[in-house]
């Protein structure tokens, strides 16, 4: 295979505050553009107790409702603005998710999102599934914005569906 080098110097390609592609900035509180987008999805949603996320609940037959969290703050990395959309698929207090983690993440990947592990100060562990929503198109109008809203809705649906499937799989093992 011929190896070719793209002569891009990553950090030098950008000037100013966003010159580091690894640097992440967060807006504080609600991003009004995204807040309106959440309204336009027509999902019934509330704000979490911590105030950090919107909460969208899905009913699941014979099980507690599934919660999908949508972050209120917008992440900006290398000028790309995104919101995180996630759900919990497993949690336990005091025990690392060794077996469950292996069975969950070492399997055919869900190509539209990723699993990750959260470890809290009180010894609480959780496995979550997250997808990111690119805000591109929300500032536009007409069909472009309509498509972006549809993507937001479908990202929430997708996270919920993967959460349901993964939790069921973990429960059955």
């Amino acid at each position: 295979m011929t190896t070719l080098l793209a002569t891009l110097a990553i950090a030098k390609a950008f000037q100013g505050q966003d010159s580091n592609p690894n640097a992440t900035k967060q807006t504080k509180g609600d991003n009004p553009i995204f807040k309106q987008a959440m309204e336009d999805t027509k999902f019934t949603h509330t704000v979490s107790k911590s105030g950090l996320s919107y909460v969208v609940e899905f009913s699941v037959k014979d099980l507690p409702n599934r919660i999908v969290w949508v972050t209120r703050e917008t992440n900006v990395k290398n000028d790309i603005a995104t919101q995180s959309i996630y759900t919990e698929v497993w949690s336990d207090k005091g025990a690392p998710p060794v077996d469950v983690l292996v069975k969950t993440v070492l399997r055919p990947a869900k190509k539209l999102g990723n699993y990750y592990v959260m470890k809290f100060d009180d010894g609480f562990y959780a496995i979550r599934f997250m997808a990111t929503f690119d805000l591109a198109g929300l500032e536009a109008s007409g069909e472009t914005r309509t498509k972006a809203i549809e993507r937001l809705k479908d990202t929430i649906y997708f996270v919920n569906q993967v959460g349901e499937e993964t939790e069921k799989e973990i429960r059955e093992k």
């Binding site: 080098l5 990395k77 995180s84 070492l106 990947a109 990750y116 690119d134 809705k153």
Partner: protein
């Protein structure tokens, strides 16, 4: 007779199975960036230089999009770790600990084609992403991938 033979030959040539497939939307977008790249079936590969170091990092784009309802997304990823042996549970937790603001980790299991465990950092992009945004995502994946390769694999610069 000669005309009929010529027409037949033209028809065969037009329907030849060696015709390249129509480029996907992300391939067309990438082409407009005029970046040097290599291609392997199903992937575009670009090598980035990491500024202020002598390190380099490959970034790959999966050319076929994944779909769910209205979502059409392509993976932009970089390898960060590879081993013939499965990572320990402690290592695995470390690799998957905490969320990324954009993107995340994925572990590929050994297969006939690739007999190793492979950890990748990836960001999914909309198939209709604008060229300048695709370039920025690729740069982020390269920089993040390189830092993760150092974190999990030491100072070697394999990927």
């Amino acid at each position: 007779m000669i005309l009929a033979t010529t027409l037949f030959a033209l028809t065969v040539a037009k329907a030849s199975p060696v015709d390249p497939p129509e480029p996907t939307q992300i391939e067309k977008t990438f082409e407009s960036l005029n970046l040097k790249s290599t291609t392997v079936p199903g992937f575009i590969q670009v090598q980035f230089s990491i500024s202020e170091t002598t390190r380099k990092q490959w970034v790959q784009i999966r050319t076929a999009p994944e779909s769910y309802r209205s979502l059409q997304q392509n993976e932009v990823f970089s390898m960060v770790w590879e081993s013939k042996n499965a990572p320990s549970n402690e290592k695995l937790i470390e690799m998957f600990l905490d969320p990324w603001s954009n993107g995340g980790m994925v572990m590929d299991l050994p297969s006939e084609k690739n007999p190793t465990y492979r950890l990748r950092f990836r960001i999914n992009v909309n198939a209709d992403i604008a060229p300048d945004r695709l370039k920025k995502v690729m740069q982020t994946v390269a920089a993040t991938g390189d830092s993760l390769e150092k974190k999990f694999g030491g100072e070697g610069d394999i990927f």
